[in-house]
């Protein structure tokens, strides 16, 4: 060969060949493999050593939460001050997070077996009569699913981080995974007696696919947001959307009481009675929280107007003012959450905080819990319902208490709204530097497409395995149950994403919007259906 001439740099941009060369060799899988095999080893240790002194699944979950947050901090700082050592620490913290997360789930599996074994042997049964081990796979309630969902997000992030250029995705995906774990913490880790219909080998298959697919969808969402940032979408526009989300949260929590004219500025929290884990339809006023939320909402609305003025007149002063308002809203939201948690932990005599205006409705709720026919309840007068309720509350006054576990979705929603504002404030600081640190928009778009493809295939598998299981258990493969319909809607959205891309060539922002909407549907399916809608999946 005399001389070679390259008309263009050969095909692969620098982004595709990482500086540390970790994209294509087996070493890049090391964090993933260490996390997985480490967790399996820990499970073996639990099985061999066992005992009550072995680290609990709850403690491991908290370690996973801390690790995800630490990893996110390292990657977030890398946006502003790229530092290879900090990035490596972030990677290893993420690996530890996945390790602890999976360990927590596996140890829970062993603990569930031990629990039922104790019940079984106490009843005089032989241990050999114990049902098969897969009965105890921790996919029995929303706590288990949340643990696995966070793992799905963590492990997907770890795999995405194999490519050096994608490591910053963790800055957004891991805090989201952490929020899922916070939600799990609020839901509570108590074991339940497995409903017999769930005792099927399809359960680990179906729910396992669900949690991994949800995890992939979460990372896809994070990539979509980063894409929008890289693509030049103004942080102020993002601020408007996150503020609308936060306002929706404030408006709907506490049974719509915060903005309701008749109860303006009132925040109420659900109550528990005795050892029961079922929250009552009786809510206690938590002082100051409602007003703090109103204050945060006012600041956000002010921010929205300031940004609107900035968009229309290109007035930079209004942009700065809007950002200041968002920063103030962040501080007020933090104060609101802090005051809420503090008071839930410290309020002693709950009855003093319960408004008698709830009594009649609570009476109806009590009768419904006792399966009194609705027609019979309708015949009762207001005073009768009030008296039933009042009598019960007086009798159980000392047993009523508040708990963080009584309002898991509300608390998680408040924390998510806070996290949204936090990221907006963060992104508004030296935005160009963040954009510079991110991989090219085209590369992010490619990653988003791949993740959406995997999420789409995963959700398709979820629907298929769910249909087969439903046909085995309930005698029909499709029943328009809220959860299966929710998964179908999310799947259709990803189908729309892929279809519009393949057929129309829709890429970039449009794809990112599809990915964001699809993830919102995934979250609605995961949480909204379980907590807001009735159906066959209400347990999880």
């Amino acid at each position: 060969m005399n001389q070679e001439v390259l008309n263009q740099p050969v095909l692969v941009s620098d982004e595709n060949i990482p500086a540390d060369g970790q994209s294509s060799n087996w070493w890049s899988y090391a964090p993933f493999l260490i996390a997985i095999f480490g967790a399996i080893l820990l499970l073996l240790a639990k099985v061999v050593v066992g005992g009550d002194r072995f680290i609990s699944d709850g403690a491991l979950m908290m370690l996973a939460l801390a690790s995800y947050l630490i990893a996110a901090v390292f990657f977030l700082t890398n946006f502003y001050a790229p530092f290879k050592f900090a990035e490596s620490l972030g990677l290893w913290a993420a690996m530890l997070g996945v390790f602890f997360n999976l360990s927590s789930w596996l140890v829970r599996w062993a603990a569930a077996y031990d629990r039922e074994l104790a019940i079984f042997t106490n009843q005089g049964n032989s241990a050999s009569d114990m049902p098969w081990i897969f009965r105890y796979v921790p996919f029995a309630n929303l706590y288990d699913l949340s643990l696995a969902f966070a793992f799905g997000a963590g492990v997907t992030t770890l795999l995405v981080m194999r490519r050096h250029q994608f490591r910053l995705v963790a800055a957004l995906s891991l805090p989201l995974a952490a929020i899922i774990l916070v939600l799990a913490r609020f839901i509570g880790s108590e074991f339940i007696d497995l409903p017999p219909v769930l005792d099927s080998y399809w359960r680990p298959i179906h729910v396992g696919i669900a949690s991994l697919s949800y995890g992939v969808a979460l990372v896809c969402f994070a990539v979509a947001v980063l894409y929008l940032l890289k693509d030049g979408l103004k942080v102020e526009k993002m601020a408007v959307w996150t503020s609308i989300f936060a306002l929706s949260v404030f408006a709907t929590i506490s049974k719509f009481s915060v903005f309701n004219p008749s109860s303006f500025g009132t925040y109420t929290a659900s109550t528990f009675v005795g050892e029961s884990r079922m929250s009552l339809a009786l809510r206690a006023d938590i002082p100051y929280v409602g007003w703090l939320l109103v204050c945060a909402a006012a600041l956000m609305i002010g921010g929205i107007f300031a940004f609107a003025s900035y968009f229309s007149r290109n007035d930079d002063k209004m942009r700065v003012f809007g950002n200041r308002l968002m920063q103030a809203a962040l501080i007020v939201q933090a104060a609101g959450i802090g005051v809420l948690v503090y008071q839930i932990k410290t309020i002693q005599y709950v009855v003093d905080h319960i408004s008698t205006s709830q009594y009649e409705r609570f009476g109806v709720w009590m009768l419904q819990q006792e399966d009194v026919p609705q027609a019979q309840i309708n015949l009762m007068g207001s005073q009768q319902l009030f008296d039933i309720s009042s009598k019960w509350i007086t009798e159980n006054a000392s047993r009523l208490h508040l708990s963080l576990n009584a309002n898991p979705v509300e608390l998680a929603a408040l924390i998510t709204a806070f996290a949204g504002t936090f990221f907006i404030v963060l992104f508004s600081f030296k935005t160009d530097k963040i954009r510079e640190a991110l991989p090219s928009a085209e590369t992010l778009d490619g990653l988003m497409y791949k993740l959406a493809g995997v999420a789409f295939a995963g959700l398709a598998l979820l629907l298929m395995t769910g249909a087969v299981w439903a046909n085995e258990s309930w005698g029909r493969y499709w029943g328009w149950d809220a959860k299966e319909t929710g998964a179908l809607v999310a799947w259709l959205t990803y189908a729309g994403f892929l279809h519009s891309r393949i057929a129309y060539g829709w890429k970039g922002r449009r794809s990112a919007y599809f990915a964001i909407i699809a993830f919102l549907f995934v979250i609605f399916t995961y949480l909204g259906v379980s907590y807001l809608l009735p159906g066959l999946h209400s347990y999880a």
Binding site: M1, N2, P195, P196, A457, W474, L533, P534
Partner: protein, 495 residues
């Protein structure tokens, strides 16, 4: 530029309405629109409680009259069976069929007329593109490049000449272009299965207790807050022989939360004979196109078997006997004791069917004692709580009776009986969809070209380019490796 635009507009005007309608129906735009419309309808169906969901009567009672009127007239309480929902599904099916037909000829061109020779300028415009100057025989260079393409995984290679240039073309994963077709066929198969289920399927429930025979199923039809039952007849008889409820805590109630499993043993009797059958949770039984499932149970406290301690009135050894439900035991003295009834909360007189006896507060068994040559007499066996009742202490047929133990069981099990000719079709559709999705998203149709021509200096200039329909970054890397290996090869030869 004006004339073609006018011609285009004229042609568009002259297009028949049918043709334009067909174009619309097979358009991707409509497909995406229908997907969004279906998604929205589903979302509404999630937010508005459907009339077949438990608790609908409460939900309905809480709605205002105007809400009931609006939701009801829009069919929102049963949206998944509303005419417009079915119309959306039908239109989507039509869209899928027509879009597949419309796109097929274009896709087939990849097979029938692969672009073996392409303009060099087009090659240079490709994202993955490069060029080399290579001395030597053009035929040998082409053969060498073709071999390298095969090594790189593009197995199907074609070498051709056109306008004084030599082209080497290679591709892999051509079938991937037909992925959309396979996805569409899979979806249509699933829709067809659903259609078969809706049109030819039937469902019903059969409450049954040991000793009972039935060939009737009950199907509950819900219309808003009103429900009524339709009875259907099976072409065979079901004879229940035994039911069993496996509990987690033996001393706990027969509630769902304390249950590991329910098992129903029965026989199916028809013109072909009597066949043994068994179902439990998640293990259905199939017979003649019907499928039997363990659906639910009636949580009235009964016993599958009882252990009764017999204390002879005249003294003598105490004996414990185990009697199965509806069964009997014959004693050494010829007396036969039959287990005729069990109550979880025993009281004299008729049992209240609405009473919750699932926790067995006061268990008691009613026995029939048959003495040789004498009419049967009733005896009672109670647990410790009722042991002091006068009736418990009274000897019957020479024995005192004490309930020592019993295996808890519900009053009856409810079997779901389903006939669904569409489910297997749906399963086939699922399998096809899964295979297709894996094929479509994890593989790609990759094409590479090498155009060899002599440049002004008389040296062979090789223009290399390639493209893919998916996984662009992976392809870029692969193409990069391919070019590097060519460069290495050429470098090695020159050394």
């Amino acid at each position: 530029m004006k004339a073609p635009t006018e011609r285009f507009l004229r042609e568009k005007r002259e297009e028949s309405i049918l043709s334009r309608l067909l174009k619309l129906i097979c358009s991707v735009r409509l497909g995406v629109g229908l997907l969004i419309a279906l998604g929205l309808a589903c979302f509404i169906g999630m937010l508005v409680m459907q009339q077949n969901v438990d608790g609908f009567d409460r939900y309905f009672a809480e709605l205002t009259p105007s809400q009931r009127l609006v939701y009801g007239s829009l069919g929102l309480f049963d949206i998944y069976h509303a005419w417009y929902f079915n119309a959306l599904l039908a239109l989507l099916s039509l869209n899928i069929v027509l879009a597949s037909i419309d796109r097929f000829p274009k896709t087939w061109l990849f097979v029938s007329k692969p672009n073996v020779t392409v303009p060099i300028r087009w090659l240079r415009d490709q994202r993955s593109s490069s060029s080399l100057e290579v001395p030597g025989d053009r035929g040998e260079i082409a053969a060498s490049i073709a071999a390298e393409m095969k090594n790189a995984g593009w197995k199907k290679t074609v070498v051709s000449e056109k306008a004084g240039k030599t082209f080497v073309f290679a591709e892999s994963g051509l079938w991937n272009r037909f992925g959309y077709l396979a996805v569409h066929v899979s979806l249509l198969t699933i829709f067809f299965g659903g259609f078969l289920t809706a049109q030819l399927g039937s469902t019903g429930q059969m409450p049954i207790a040991p000793g009972e025979t039935s060939n009737l199923t009950l199907d509950t039809v819900v219309e808003l807050d009103q429900a009524h039952q339709i009875t259907k007849q099976l072409p065979f008889e079901i004879i229940c022989t035994d039911i069993q409820q496996k509990l987690i805590r033996q001393d706990g109630p027969i509630t769902v939360g304390n249950t590991i499993d329910w098992l129903t043993y029965f026989q199916i009797k028809d013109e072909t004979g009597t066949h043994e059958a068994f179902v439990q949770m998640n293990k259905p039984f199939d017979y003649r196109g019907y499928r039997f499932f363990q659906a639910s149970f009636t949580p009235i406290g009964r016993a599958r078997n009882i252990t009764v301690r017999l204390t002879p009135e005249a003294g003598g050894p105490i004996e414990d006997i185990v009697i199965p439900r509806d069964g009997s035991v014959t004693l050494a003295d010829g007396n036969m004791i039959r287990f005729s009834e069990f109550r979880g909360n025993f009281s004299i007189g008729r049992e209240d069917p609405n009473e919750d006896t699932s926790a067995y507060p006061n268990p008691g068994a009613i026995l029939q004692v048959f003495q040789p040559g004498q009419p049967p007499v009733t005896a009672y066996a109670f647990g410790p709580k009722l042991a002091n009742m006068p009736v418990a202490k009274k000897p019957v047929a020479g024995y005192g009776y004490q309930l020592i133990d019993f295996e808890k069981a519900p009053d009856r099990h409810v079997l779901a009986v389903q006939r669904d000719p569409g489910s297997n079709v749906v399963y086939v559709g699922f399998l096809m969809l899964f295979i297709t999705l894996v094929g479509v998203f994890f593989f790609s149709h990759q094409r590479v070209w090498a155009a060899i021509e002599k440049n002004a200096d008389g040296i062979n200039e090789v223009t290399l380019a390639g493209n893919t329909n998916r996984s662009q970054n992976t392809f870029d890397e692969k193409f990069s490796q391919f070019v590097k290996s060519l460069q290495r090869q050429e470098h090695g030869e020159s050394v």
